[in-house]
């Protein structure tokens, strides 16, 4: 029975999960949860996901929420398939974990604030809070300066191989660069810019984007 991913395909957190599954060559069914109609807050959905968020996955009888827990699960379950996304030793894994936490705690909160105010609200015809967006951009710029230093020493965040720590950044960064006009934040950071160009061109990520654009429900490798 295929993995089921519940969410909206355009949303950042479900895209992380899809990308991981595609990297690992794992087929899945995408089940739409209409977050624009607040379906994720309905009691039937909250039976599965007590925080009323997306994504949620079912792998046979096993169910899980929190996109970063989900990608860790699949990366470990399919460790012998596709690229090594978790490192091979305790130390390599710890570096992956370190940068995963940086993404979750320092990078994404700023990035989400920017996307929310400069993209999500305006496309609904609502005013975004420019002040909050600008403050978040300044914070994100400082975080990217640290990334620039790291990426001048290693090709990817946790070392010289692409790992989950890079993967979880991709969906929200694409929104920042393509929908919020903020590609220029990378212009004075040549290593971070090269990293972005590399990770966003991964064949698996491109397959996720095609899948999302197609509106299909079933993905097969």
């Amino acid at each position: 029975m295929a993995v089921k991913v519940y969410g909206k395909p355009q949303a950042v957190c479900p895209q992380r999960v899809m990308h991981c599954l595609v990297e690992k060559g794992v087929p899945f069914e995408f089940v739409l949860v209409d977050i624009d109609a607040m379906e994720q807050k309905r009691p039937e959905y909250m039976e599965k996901h007590p925080f009323g968020q997306v994504p949620f996955i079912a792998d046979g009888d096993f169910e899980l929420f929190e996109s970063r827990a989900i990608v860790r699960y699949f990366a470990a379950k399919y460790a012998d398939r596709g690229p090594n996304l978790l490192g091979r030793t305790a130390e390599e894994r710890a570096k992956v974990e370190q940068w995963l936490d940086v993404e979750a705690i320092s990078y994404s909160p700023c990035a989400f604030t920017i996307v929310f105010n400069l993209f999500l609200l305006p496309i609904r015809g609502l005013p975004g809070n420019k002040g909050e967006a600008v403050a978040a951009m300044e914070k994100l710029d400082k975080v990217l300066e640290v990334y620039e230093k790291q990426l001048s020493r290693t090709k990817y965040l946790a070392g010289d191989e692409f790992t989950l720590a890079d993967l979880t950044h991709i969906p929200v960064t694409r929104y920042i660069v393509e929908h919020c006009g903020l590609a220029y934040l990378l212009d004075d950071k040549p290593h971070a810019k090269a990293w972005w160009e590399d990770v966003s061109r991964r064949p698996a990520w491109k397959k996720v984007m095609s899948f999302v654009a197609s509106g299909a429900s079933f993905y097969s490798p």
């Binding site: 007590p50 925080f51 096993f62 899980l64 929420f65 929190e66 970063r68 827990a69 989900i70 860790r72 699960y73 470990a76 379950k77 305790a90 130390e91 894994r93 710890a94 570096k95 974990e97 370190q98 995963l100 936490d101 940086v102 979750a104 705690i105 320092s106 975080v143 640290v146 230093k149 790291q150």
Partner: protein, 221 residues
């Protein structure tokens, strides 16, 4: 062995998270204070350990790491055969058990930590630093935290600890923020919810956490 060093003041919530984990795992460590009032966390030497200028930083003979939850995960992996061996799912429990712990560790990081950190700052640290408290921020974050604790109340009615029947990293991660909130007199948030109260009583009276709390009042090294 015997070369674990943690950098940071023990009263820091993120530092104490790591200390709790080391004590659960019976791993000896040296604690090196970082005087944040004097800006030591922004010194060039410290920034080599932690490029974001935050605490804690961690070193053993194999790795230098930051981000408290990544450090805890590493300690559990690296010292798998020491101390409490079910912090990350039982040995031989497989990817599904570990994923349950990851799920609730992410929930702590993404849902519990933001409002509880804000409350810890307002209730415990602002007064210490001679800063005025913000009643609106306290009210807002209390309301957010209440919603999260309602989810926990339901979950802890089904399960002894968050990820299952054993105390795990997912529970441990909550100790610092919850401790400060209760110590500041807002323990009614926990006490008024039957299952949360039972869980909090159980995890906060663990000997490892009591030792960490003792370190809060010890003079800095």
């Amino acid at each position: 062995m015997g070369s674990v060093t943690v950098y940071g003041p023990p009263i820091s919530t993120a530092v104490s998270r790591v200390l709790a984990c080391l004590l659960e795992k019976d791993v000896d460590f040296k604690l090196v204070n970082v005087d944040m009032a004097k800006g030591q966390h922004k010194s060039p030497d410290y920034l080599k350990l932690q490029p974001f200028g935050q605490v804690p930083a961690f070193q053993d003979e194999h790795a230098t790491l930051f981000e408290s939850r990544a450090i805890c995960r590493y300690i559990c992996d690296k010292y798998a055969n020491r101390g409490n061996q079910s912090l990350f799912g039982r040995n031989g429990g497989g990817p599904a058990e570990r994923a349950q712990v990851e799920q609730w560790l992410e929930a702590e990081s993404q849902s519990f930590n933001p409002p509880s950190s804000a409350l810890v700052f307002q209730l415990a640290f602002a007064p210490r630093m001679g800063l005025p408290q913000d009643p609106a921020a306290i009210e807002l974050n209390q309301a957010k935290l209440a919603k999260v604790l309602d989810v926990y109340e339901r979950r802890l009615g089904e399960s002894r600890f968050l990820a299952g029947d054993e105390f795990a990293l997912a529970d441990l991660a909550h100790l610092p923020n919850a401790h400060y909130i209760c110590a500041a007199g807002k323990d009614d948030m926990f006490a008024s919810r039957k299952n949360v109260a039972r869980w909090w009583e159980e995890i906060s009276t663990r000997p490892s956490w009591k030792k960490v709390v003792d370190m809060f009042s010890a003079p800095p090294a």
